[in-house]
Every structure is written in C-alpha cells, then in structure tokens.
Assembly symmetry: C2
Homo-oligomer: 188 residues x 2
Amino acid sequence: MGRWQPNARGRLEQAALDLYVERGFAQTTVTEIAGRAGLTERTFFRHFADKREVLFSGSAELQELLVAAVNGAPEGAAPIDAVAAGLDAIGDLMQERRPYARRRQSVITANTELRERELIKLATLSAATAEALHRRGVAEPAASLAAEAGIAVFRIAFGRWVGGPDDKELAQLMRESLAELKAVAAGA
Amino acid sequence: MGRWQPNARGRLEQAALDLYVERGFAQTTVTEIAGRAGLTERTFFRHFADKREVLFSGSAELQELLVAAVNGAPEGAAPIDAVAAGLDAIGDLMQERRPYARRRQSVITANTELRERELIKLATLSAATAEALHRRGVAEPAASLAAEAGIAVFRIAFGRWVGGPDDKELAQLMRESLAELKAVAAGA
C-alpha cells in the first residue's frame, strides 16, 4: 500500500480492458479492475478519473503527436499537407498497438456512452489541429475545414483498419482515404 | 387534464428555452417547464423523453430534409453535389428560425452535456447522409467521406451564422464553406 508499483498504469489498463471484454463495460467496477491488477482502488484513482477514462488515456498522446507533426510541417506547406503529416505520425504510433486497438474498439462499439465519449475526443483532436494550423498562419474557416477533413479521414481509415480483415497499415489507409476525400471534394 | 392541448409541443419548447436562457439548463426542472407552458408533466413526457431532448427535437426534421434532398439530386450528380443539395435544403429551413437558433445555441454552448449531445446528433446526420449516398450507388469510403465533408461544412458555417454579426444567410455561408473545403482539399 502506498509503495511505488511498477507500471501500475499499464497493469490497470490491461486489467480494465480484459474485464470489459469478458463481462462488458457496464458490468465492471473499479474495485474489480484494481483487484485484477493486484493494486488498490486508491492507486486506480491516482491514474484515472473513472473507469471510462482508462479507455481514452491514449488520446492526450495522440493529440501531442498530431499537433507536433502539424507544427513541424515544412514552412509553406498547404494546410491539408500539414494535416496529412499529422495523420502519418499518429498512424505509425497506432500501428504498433493494433491488437490493443481492436479489443478496445469492440468494447467502445458495444456501449453508447463510450461511443459518445469517442466523438468528444475526436472533436477535441479536431479543435487542437485547427489551433495548430492557426499558429501556422492559416485563417478561418480554412483551418477548421482542413482539421475537420483530417479527422474525417482518420475516423474512416481507422474504422477500416480496426474492423477490416486485411493487413493494410493505418497510415496507408489514411493516405488512401485522404486521396479519396480529395477526389470527392473535386466532384469525382 | 388529458384534454387535447393546442400546440402543446411548441409551447413546451418555448417555455423550456425561455427557462434555460433565464436560469440555465441544469437549474431547470421538467415541472417548471410544464408549469410555465400551462401544461402537465404528463403532457411534457408525451412529447419529449427528457428536458435535454426538447432542444434536439428539430434534428429528425433536419435529417429527413437532408436525406430527401440527397435522394432527389439529379441522377449522375457527383456525391459532393448531392450533399450540397442537402445542405441547401436545411439551410433554407433553419434560416427562418434564426432567432430561435441563436438562443438555443447559447444554452448548448454553456453546457458540456448538451455539447456532447449535439456531436452525437451531427454524427447521426452524417451516417444518414452516407446511407442516402449508398442508395445512390456511391461506394465506401467515398460515401462516408462526402457525408463527413458535408457535415463539417454544416458545422463550420452554422457556427459562423449563429454566432456571427453579419446577416449572411446560412445556405450562402454553407456554399462558401464548401467552396473553401474544395480549395483546402486541392491543397490551396
């Protein structure tokens, strides 16, 4: 109790996801998650606000990566190309976590409250992207539209990647979806 | 009690919005809304599932209009043009309700739960639009991308219209935003 626990955060994430997959999200309590991880509830709440947040703990990292890549795009790059650089960066990170992403998504899809939470996280990601474009000197509404377009590409490619049988990489699927969006916008 | 009440639905909507603006959404009860409208709680629940739903009762109508316009677009029209026809249709309907829309939006912006609800309604609108495009023979991911692009245009134009000082019409702002999205997607 109170001692430092090696990788407590990761153990809690793993225990929570295992229980959500086995029993369902609604049927799982924080007490059970902590117990499965061999930790206390107190430790759980040191890392996560609630049992929902365990599933979204990666979104801050995603946002940082996306924003950093938008910031780092070559000066003079078109807004959509800066956004594409951001998508590449998060695609590579997520690719390494595909088994986790698949299991996590099965839990989210089965629960309305979690699907709502996911929409909010995506809206936050879009707003952060628009903000990064503003700092590059992109005006409104172009910044928000480029950000929304990027998040739409992410959503659709992610759905194909996480649910699909093929083994295309997420970054590749996002590049294809972006090309398709460009074609659609051009009236193809 | 139990008698037919002329325009009960409209009176409840008006009373609810008045109270939400005056006191805040969280501070208003269904009892108070019914009382202000001169109706019973029972009548309230005949029309609305809860006090949140009063603010979103228009979304079914919006969705019908949007889908009907997508369905009715000329055969062979590009997906993005079918979506643009849908946006024109809802722009014209909403334009007539601008004073209501402004007051409603001030309530939604002030409340996290309502902002979340709005995101869900927009996601539903996007899915219905993609569905309508499928029925026109548009394949995935083009259908979902065109739908998402359309909803992004709607969100951004709506924000400018509802919050902006100018008196541009919503349909006009959506046309401008769509043109801007096309330019952004083309790498402008």
